[in-house]
Symmetry: C2
Amino acid sequence: MKKTVEEEHSACTNILRPVRDSLDVLSGKWKLPIIIALTFGEKRFTEITQEVHGITDRMLSKELRDLELNGLVKRNVQDTYPVKVTYALTAHSKTLRPVIDSLKNWGILHKKKLHEECREHKAKRKISGN
Amino acid sequence: MKKTVEEEHSACTNILRPVRDSLDVLSGKWKLPIIIALTFGEKRFTEITQEVHGITDRMLSKELRDLELNGLVKRNVQDTYPVKVTYALTAHSKTLRPVIDSLKNWGILHKKKLHEECREHKAKRKISGN
DNA sequence: GATAGTACTATACTATAGTATAGTTACTTT
DNA sequence: AAAGTAACTATACTATAGTATAGTACTATC
């Protein structure tokens, strides 16, 4: 049974719509890395900057605010002598596990593929004598 | 057995590194939508613009070039009377299936959560009489 | 009392992503 | 011959993402 153009089109948008919804919330260089850093337990501001290599204070501050607004991160202020601020994942952000896992696995696969291509390229040069 | 700080740190970077590798290749508003459009079979330039809502010719042209360079899309030119150009997924980009599925599922989950919050909000207003 | 850590914010900037609009070449259909 | 489609490219622009550097208010430590 062949699908009609219309059926194919609606099957496509059925995937496209929710993927876009995800990308709207998770896009950018830092949001997923921050969430990954917090999967190992709540962390303080400076601890996150150390874990998420290359992020600036400004970006971390901004992204944490964004993530909090979207219910993906919880900000806890402990009113000890000097205030201690920690950030933790929420129940909702823990549902991102499969997304993170699949991206991790694909990243490993992709890198492996690049290495293979590199080896093939070298082998070809050997044969042709360049 | 409690993990040391060092163990936790290396466990974290073991996830962070490959996720970053993935994001480097897939980041942006259009790359995944284009790939999704092509999962239903090869398509011509204008067919993709129709499927991927809101993309401009310029962006599609640029992103297709990027994707081709990274080995995620194959450009086929059929030298019929008027040349017909089609774009298709490669074996490599088909391995993105789990990434797309997890993003799709999470997008659905996230939207559902937003709706629930909306309902809760309305219920609260009812109780407090505002 | 000087230095340093924590958790930021402010200012100013650059770079990249993305948009809007028009133009091109070559062929097809009316 | 005129209008239209396919597959783009060119130009010019805006908007957002991200960077660099410095500063602040508060403690804490040497």
